[in-house]
């Protein structure tokens, strides 16, 4: 472990720090933060151990070895797939991503929802807690909530038709120079298509049924910081366009190649740059298994447990970024400095428009000894929000606290696996009876807060009591660990579920915002209502599924996360309709005093609102930075500005 641990900051347990070497993949790739999806049920194995794996996935690896040959990189660690439960640390995302990941959907090839011969939903594979389980009520939920039917199926084409793929146009002189650097690259269609998109709905739709107009002409895998410097120099020399790629989990159209880009587009895949480590950052975005540290930095990511560990801006100690103008970094690794505006803030959230992040030093913490899930049922969403606000005010939020609305609560129940024993189902019935009949909660109104506590055992128990006491004041009833755990599982499998939906004419997406406390309830209600209304107006024939949760709490407000899906049977251009509705929903968010984005970033999807979000002058500032750092627009993904 390079970089000596320095004791610093917080309270009794000084966090330790590790310089993770290259560690970073840049990515405009963002998604990163995206709660947008992701697999790995946080479950079956001791969580601490699991997190360690993931982390080591991000940090560990052969120190950017000097011999950048493809095979080498495939081997050791860089296990980005850390979440994978049964996989050893060696699990890794190879250069040929399609070998283990779906080319036209989310996550691992071996993991997906299917309807088995009995017509019951089942999750395949072995990676997740849910893997191999039968979900008896999911089908009914899909039929009831979305009007989907097993008889109406629409499948994706099975293979990428390479003849559809736009040809790779790369100038021969550049190729010669590139070969001289010995950095590995590929011009194969599959590799290029894989890096032409993130995970927005329209992108997946194109993969299933069409083809992108413009994709990268070449994919390059640098192995270390120096490789990146060389590539950027070459790009400047030959006037190429570089689009950094990290985990490819973007949900903001950030990876989409500008259709009118005439220069050669280089996809700079940072996934093969590795660092070393063995600690824990606690940063756990929902896309954690697939997204990358560089991507986290480039998008201003946020993790589920930010209450303990902080968001990416709180975790970062040092960043090194290669730009066309040269390398930018601070001269020391200190907890704070007053040297004018923090240059890290030009980098975090730059979404791949300024350069490639090659090294990041982040704070790490000892792995917590104890972890406990929990949940609280509230009679309605309003009471739940009031409770979360009070918890935020008292600053005693657990590692994670989320409040899901009624629709999402019922959605969670649709993912209940088959119950093994009669006893469990009896207990479930009893619980339900107690809450709805005895306590008088309306099953169509109640909502649930899911909790995750971390720390040493005694403190966790104490903390737990404090939180439940506050909840009780707002009419909340403790509802057990299981409900809580299932809530978190949902966020990891939701992206797999979208692929299932796509097979049955159901399209959906998630989006997020942040909002001051006093507007949370109004915003949630209005946005959901707007979605329903827009669907009706746009001719959607089935009631949409539109649901939200308060997913992060802050002193001054909350992050709210929406899922939205509808059955598009009978509509000729579903993607266009979908986009119109999403735009309307975003307008509604802004009109309600919400932000343009809490952690998904802007990309190209939300660019149109940037000016009103940060003012003319603000936009001008960012533009002038871009102008100085990258006057020839080498990093030409055209995100953000």
């Amino acid at each position: 472990m390079p970089g000596a641990p320095i004791s610093a900051c917080s309270a009794s347990r000084p966090p330790q720090r590790v310089t993770s070497h290259p560690a970073a993949q840049h990515g405009s790739a963002m998604a990163a933060a995206a709660e947008a999806a992701a697999g790995s049920g946080p479950g079956s194995q001791p969580p601490a151990q699991r997190r360690l794996r993931i982390l080591s996935g991000h940090l560990q690896g052969s120190p950017a070895s000097r011999a950048p040959e493809a095979e080498r990189f495939l081997s050791p660690s860089q296990c980005r797939a850390g979440g994978a439960a049964e996989q050893p640390v060696a699990s890794t995302i190879p250069k040929k991503r399609q070998e283990i990941l779906k080319w036209n959907g989310w996550g691992y090839n071996d993991s997906k929802f299917i309807f088995n011969k009995k017509g019951q939903a089942e999750f395949t594979g072995k990676r997740y807690r849910l893997s191999g389980m039968v979900l008896p009520v999911l089908k009914e939920w899909m039929e009831k909530t979305l009007g989907a039917s097993l008889e109406h199926k629409i499948t994706s084409r099975a293979f990428l038709n390479t003849s559809d793929v736009p040809p790779s146009i790369v100038n021969e002189e550049f190729l010669q120079d590139l070969r001289a650097t010995k950095i590995s690259y590929s011009q194969e269609a599959e590799d290029r298509v894989f890096r032409a998109h993130g995970h927005c709905l329209h992108e997946i739709f194109v993969l299933r049924e069409g083809m992108f107009k413009r994709i990268p002409d070449i994919v390059i895998w640098p192995g270390c910081h120096d490789d990146v410097v060389k590539i950027v120099e070459l790009a400047c020399k030959h006037n190429l366009c570089i689009i950094p790629f990290g985990g490819g989990t973007s949900v903001s159209s950030a990876l989409e190649c500008p259709a009118d880009e005439r220069r050669t587009i280089v996809s700079l895949d940072t996934s093969q740059m590795l660092g070393e480590s063995g600690y824990c950052t606690g940063h756990e975005p929902d896309s954690m298994e697939f997204s990358s540290l560089g991507g986290w930095v480039a998008t201003r990511a946020s993790g589920m447990k930010k209450n303990i560990y902080g968001n990416i801006e709180d975790l970062v100690v040092h960043i090194k970024m290669v730009t066309p103008r040269g390398v930018i970094e601070k001269s020391c690794q200190v907890p704070r400095m007053s040297t004018g505006p923090d240059i890290h803030h030009f980098i975090m959230g730059s979404e791949g428009t300024l350069g490639v992040v090659t090294e990041v030093t982040i704070k790490i913490r000892p792995i917590p000894e104890y972890q406990k899930y929990g949940s609280v049922v509230f009679p309605n969403f309003e009471r739940g929000v009031a409770c979360l606000r009070e918890i935020a005010k008292q600053r005693c939020a657990p590692a994670s606290i989320r409040l899901v609305d009624n629709a999402q609560f019922q959605f969670g129940h649709a993912l209940k696996p088959q119950v093994a024993s009669i006893f469990t189902s009896f207990l479930d019935g009893l619980k339900k009876f107690y809450i709805t009949k005895f306590k008088g909660f309306d099953p169509n109104e109640l909502c649930v807060a899911t909790l995750l506590f971390e720390g040493d055992r005694e403190k966790v128990l104490q903390h737990e009591k404090q939180v439940y006491d506050i909840a009780a004041k707002f009419g909340g009833l403790a509802a057990g660990e299981d409900n809580g755990q299932r809530g978190y599982m949902l966020t990891f499998v939701i992206a797999y579920l979208r692929d299932l939906g796509l097979d049955y004419y159901v399209i959906g997406e998630s989006f997020e915002t942040s909002v001051p406390w006093d507007r949370v309830i109004d915003l949630c209600r209005n946005v959901k209502e707007r979605i329903v209304r827009e669907c009706k107006e746009k001719g959607v024939q089935f009631a949409p599924f539109s649901t939200c949760r308060v997913t992060q709490t802050y002193d001054a407000g909350a992050c709210v996360y929406f899922y939205f899906a509808f059955n598009y049977r009978g509509i000729s251009d579903p993607i266009h309709v979908y986009e119109q509705i999403e735009t309307a929903a975003r307008e509604e968010i802004l009109a309600n005093g919400g932000s343009l984005s809490h952690h998904h970033g802007v990309g190209k999807l939300r660019k149109q609102w940037m000016k009103e979000s940060i003012s003319d002058v603000g936009l001008g500032m960012l533009k002038s930075v871009k102008e100085y750092v990258d006057p020839n627009n080498i990093f030409g993904n055209r995100n953000l500005l």
Binding site: R519, R525, E612
Partner: protein, 674 residues
């Protein structure tokens, strides 16, 4: 004008020219019919389970009061006031409680049943029919469940809100809470009964009292946000004594729109309601009031004295519930982003100019909708014809002209309800009978009665004449807002004696400016109004329009003359007032002095017979003229310690007077689009 141009872009989506070709309107049902056939008592005791707003959190009136008092909004104002005045917050809080108690309604089913019973009895005696468009009720029922609803009825009589609540009870709708003037509180038992049937009371003026405003605004908004009940108030602010729609007041409207602006509610429905009376209960009271005999203060004993009107017949009432208008739809594309985003929502904020403009436009739009759906009775036509043919008109001729006017009114989009299958002759006869207090048929001639004080006090002839003309005028006035655009084109044609479109338009524009307080025009769209007027006249073959010119057709002459004559009282009235101002007044004057002065001046003119324009005696016309002159900078208004004083800008006044009198082209306007 840059400002005007900027504005004109904005209204475009909001003011769509109504379809002028026979608009489809709902059918009416007479609700009294059933009342006449079944027990009123059983009706009053019926099971009453109104549909409610889907997001309603059920609560009692007292809970609403509590949440108003504890609201961050009100608490903030209380703290501010306490800081400024150096008083403890407790004292101010006490004051707030008092205000709230004085104001608050206390909806109570017992009182409602009492009203249901007694109003059934009263309405059946007073009115022949109460007609309601049931389709409108159904739409309203739908709307009430979806979003908070604001009811915006026209205001011609005290009967208005009693009638609405009665209808809501009849149709099982949640009873509205009503903003009513404080004067009712003076009526001892009735005030309390009204309160229990959902009225809340507001002081007529409280501009300066911030605490009152804060309590009031919060009270209204709380009820709206909770979806507690539909909120009802009168855009016109007060009963229109002239039966012309009054220019809207914006205060309450902006309060009920605020929860939407702040996105505390997803949407709000505004429902224009047009209530028209074949014969207005207060008709003679109004005429006296307009002539300067003060109206009696509301009192229970006064109400009892009014009992004798119970033996009288007041014809039919038509209540038309307009299509609920979604505030969100109105605002879309215009107020998508609110300035409220940057300030905690409980802090009181001044409305931005954009929002003020928007509120203004919405208010006018709603009033125009009221006008569009206002039922016109045959008597309205008769009164219009009669007033142009004083002192007497042959009955046969009256019938003929009424029938002719019926056609014209329908062509202009007026909402005429002709009694079922009645021939013109009978319709006119029955109207004359209903209004026998104003007109009578003497030897085949229809004449205006002399209306005298009931106690028989002697009055001079002018006053008597004025009374009956004003009473009659109140019916003719109902026609004016439908006719105003084509009529002002006709007046402009007459004034300019020109064919040139440009000149006619600039004259039209001048008239529209002058009469902006008198009739309802959507702000900022003079050209559109002009085009609409021309369109209607063309449709009726009165004029022919070429790109440059407007020509009156041969057979159109008489129509044009009629249309111009319809508005002559206003033209003459304003002329007399401007003459008065230029001759009589030298010093600064107050409104009271002005009204007294003009009254004496006009009396003299009428006595000497140098004018026949009795309507200049109407204080409503006088006040509107003053307001118009202030608006056009002809009269300057200054604030003094006790009210306002006015001074005349002689130069500007002379110019205006010239325009009224002379056929010389008015002023060159840029009319590129013509």
């Amino acid at each position: 004008m840059a400002a005007a141009a900027g504005r004109s872009r904005l209204w475009a989506p909001m003011y769509s020219q109504k379809e002028l070709t026979s608009k489809k309107r709902d059918e009416f049902e007479d609700i009294l019919e059933e009342r006449r056939q079944s027990s009123d008592l059983r009706y009053a005791m019926k099971c009453y389970t109104p549909v409610i707003y889907k997001g309603l959190s059920a609560c009692k009136p007292s809970a609403i009061k509590d949440s108003v008092l504890q609201s961050e909004q009100l608490q903030y104002v209380i703290k501010q006031l306490s800081k400024e005045m150096g008083e403890s917050t407790d004292i101010i809080q006490e004051e707030a409680i008092e205000i709230l108690d004085e104001m608050g309604h206390n909806l109570h089913i017992g009182a409602i049943r009492f009203f249901a019973f007694s109003l059934s009895k009263i309405f059946k005696r007073l009115f022949q029919k109460v007609c309601v468009n049931e389709e409108g009720i159904q739409k309203l029922q739908q709307a009430i469940q979806e979003h908070p609803v604001v009811l915006l009825p026209s205001h011609r009589s005290y009967i208005d809100f009693l009638m609405l609540s009665y209808l809501f009870y009849t149709y099982d709708l949640a009873l509205p809470v009503i903003a009513a003037g404080m004067d009712f509180l003076g009526m001892k038992i009735v005030g309390e009964l009204l309160r229990r049937s959902g009225a809340f009371f507001i002081r007529r003026t409280f501009g300066g009292n911030r605490l009152y405003w804060a309590v009031f605004a919060e009270y209204v908004k709380t009820m709206l946000r909770n979806g507690y009940a539909p909120i009802e108030f009168f855009l016109e602010g007060t009963r229109s004594r002239t039966a012309k729609t009054l220019t809207p007041k914006f205060g309450l409207l902006s309060i009920v729109m605020e929860p939407f602006f702040k996105r505390e509610v997803f949407d709000t429905y505004l429902v224009p309601i047009s209530i028209s009376y074949e014969r207005i209960l207060e008709e003679s009271l109004y005429a006296y009031e307009l002539l300067g005999v003060p109206k009696p203060k509301e009192s229970t004993s006064g109400l009892l004295k009014a009992r004798k009107i119970l033996s009288d017949n007041f014809g039919s009432i038509h209540v038309y519930f307009g299509q609920p208008v979604s505030l969100r739809t109105l605002a879309s594309g215009r107020i998508d982003r609110c300035p409220y985003r940057l300030v905690p929502r409980h802090l009181p904020q001044r409305l931005s100019e954009d929002i003020q403009d928007f509120v203004t436009d919405v208010a006018y739009k709603m009033e125009l909708l009221q006008i569009e759906n206002m039922v016109l009775s045959p008597w309205v036509l008769i009164a219009s014809v009669l007033l142009q043919n004083l002192p007497a008109i042959d009955f046969e001729l009256l019938v003929e002209k009424t029938l002719w006017l019926k056609g014209l009114t329908q062509a202009f989009g007026g909402f005429l309800e002709w009694p079922d299958n009645l021939c013109a002759n009978k319709a006119v006869t029955s109207s004359l009978a209903l209004h026998s207090n104003i007109v009578s048929l003497v030897n085949g001639q229809v004449v205006l009665n002399d209306v005298g004080m009931e106690d028989g006090a002697t009055e001079d002839l002018v006053f008597k004449q004025a009374l009956s003309i004003l009473m009659c005028g109140a019916y003719r006035n109902q026609l004016l807002n439908v006719f105003v655009r084509p009529s002002l084109v006709a007046v402009a044609l007459q004034m300019t004696q020109s064919f040139r479109k440009e000149e006619i338009y600039s004259c039209f524009n001048f008239l529209r400016d002058i009469f902006f307080d008198e009739f309802i025009f959507f702000p900022g769209i003079a050209l559109k109004d002009f085009e609409e007027g021309c369109f209607l006249l063309t449709k009726c073959d009165v004029i022919q329009v070429t790109p440059q010119e407007i020509l009156v057709t041969e057979k159109g002459n008489s129509v044009a003359a009629f249309l111009a004559a319809l508005f002559r009282p206003f033209m003459e009235g304003y002329q007399i007032i401007s003459r008065y101002l230029s001759k009589e007044t030298k010093e600064a004057f107050t409104e009271k002095q002005f009204i007294l002065g003009i009254r004496n001046f006009a009396f003299q003119l009428l006595e000497t017979g140098s004018t026949q324009c009795y309507e200049v005696l109407s204080s409503d016309l006088q006040k509107n003229a003053l307001a118009a002159f202030v608006r056009l900078d002809i009269v300057r208004r200054m604030k003094t310690t006790n009210g306002f004083t006015y001074t005349v800008n002689k130069e500007a006044l002379n110019k205006t007077a010239e325009m009224f009198d002379s056929p010389i082209p008015i002023r060159k306007l840029v009319t590129a689009r013509l």
